[in-house]
Symmetry: C2
Subunit: 244 residues, 2 copies
Amino acid sequence: MQGVLSEALAVAFRLALPPTLTVAGRTDAGVHARGQVAHVDVPSGMWASAASVAMRRLNRVLPADVRVRAISVAPAGFDARFSALWRRYSYRVCDGAVCADPLRRHDTLWHRLPVDPQLMNQAAAACLGTHDFAAFCRRRLGASTVRELQRLDWHRDETGVVVAAVIADAFCHNMVRALVGALLAVGDGRKPASWPAAMLAAAVRDPAVTVAPPHPLCLEQVGYPADEDLKARASLTRRGRSAG
Amino acid sequence: MQGVLSEALAVAFRLALPPTLTVAGRTDAGVHARGQVAHVDVPSGMWASAASVAMRRLNRVLPADVRVRAISVAPAGFDARFSALWRRYSYRVCDGAVCADPLRRHDTLWHRLPVDPQLMNQAAAACLGTHDFAAFCRRRLGASTVRELQRLDWHRDETGVVVAAVIADAFCHNMVRALVGALLAVGDGRKPASWPAAMLAAAVRDPAVTVAPPHPLCLEQVGYPADEDLKARASLTRRGRSAG
C-alpha cells in the first residue's frame, strides 16, 4: 500500500521521485487497512489546488484496491506512525452456512466449526492490559514486544458473522492474527478459555498457536491525541520502541 | 452459478450426470445472487443424511464464490422459477471519497459524480406498476416485456453508499441495470427526473440509456406464495410468459 500510494503521488503530481510516506499501521501482507493514515512531506505549493481536487487526481491514478478518502494539511508535530495513541483492527469470522456470503469472502474467514463468542470474550478479557506479548509476536531483534492491549472482544453481527474489535497502543508482527488464532481455538472448543492467558504469561512463542489468515483482518481506525500533544507523543513512542 | 452448482451436486453425491437445476433468477453475467433459490429433482435416498450434512458436503466441493446456505425438501408444486411471486435486487453506488471502501469494490459501483437519492426516487416512483418495460429490456423474440415493478427506491446507508431496492414479479434481461443507468443519469443531474418515465411510455429501447455495470447488482431475495398456492402460481406464470 505504502509503495503504491507513493508511486501514485509521483505520477499524479509529476514528481521526479516517489516521496517517502510514513503509515500508521505497517500491516502484514494480505491484511486490509480501511482506516490507514499516512503522512508525507511535499514541496510547498503542491497542494495549491483544493484538497478535494488533489484527492480526485490521486484516486484516478490509484488501482481500485487503494482509495484516498481524505487529505489535509497535518498539524505541527504530526507523525502518522509515532503520534498515534492506538490502532483499532477488526477480524471477521463466518462459522456456519447462515452467514456465508460469497461477496464477503475477500474479508471474511470461513471457519469450519461453530464458535462461541462469549467463550472467546472470556479468554480475551484475561489478556487485556500491558504485557509482554512475545507469545503472540514474531520476534525482531532489539524490538520490544511489550504492548498495551486495550480492547479485544467479539460479537455476532446482524448477518451472523462473528467480528472482533481489537485495540492496542501498537501491535507487533502477527500479534492480532496470533491472538485471533488462539481465541478461535477456544471458541470452537479445541482449547480451554484459560489457554491464551496462560500462553501470554509464559511469554515465549508457542508453536500450538495458529496464526489466523490475513485477509479477514482490517485496520479500521487510528487514534491521535489533541494537536498540542502530537509532538510529545511522537517523542515518547520513539523512545519506548528503541528502548525495547 | 447454475452449472457450477449442478456439477458440484454430481461430484458431492457421485451422480453419473449433473442433475438439471432450475434457478429463480437467471441473472446476467457478473451479477451476484446472495439470495438465489434453486430446485432440483434427486434420486430418492440421496438426502438420506440430514440436510446439514448434505450442505457441508456440497460446500466443500463448491468454489469460494458459491455457497449453499440452506437445503430443504420442496413442498409439492414448488418450482423455484415459476412459483416465485417476486424478486428483490439491490444495487450499490458509491459517489464520493467518503464511502469509497476498497473492500467492497467487488459489489459497489464507483460513480464519478455525486448523486441525489431523492431525485432518483422521484424519477423511480413514476415507473412503478405494470408496464411494458421494452425501453429497458433486451428484447427476445416471442417473450413478453410486460412486468410489474413493485418497488424501486434508493437510500444512503450508514457508510454513505447509495443502495437501491428493486422488486418486480420478474425482470427481463438487463432490466434492473438499464433502470439503474437511467436513474443515475437523473441522480447526477445529466437528465431531468421525468426522463425515465417518458422513456418507459415510449416503450422502445432508447440508445441514451446506459446499462449500468453488473457487479454492484445482487439478487437478494425471492418471494413465494403459501405452499398450497405454489402450483397454481407456477401454472399462471408459465401461461403469462409464453403468451408474451
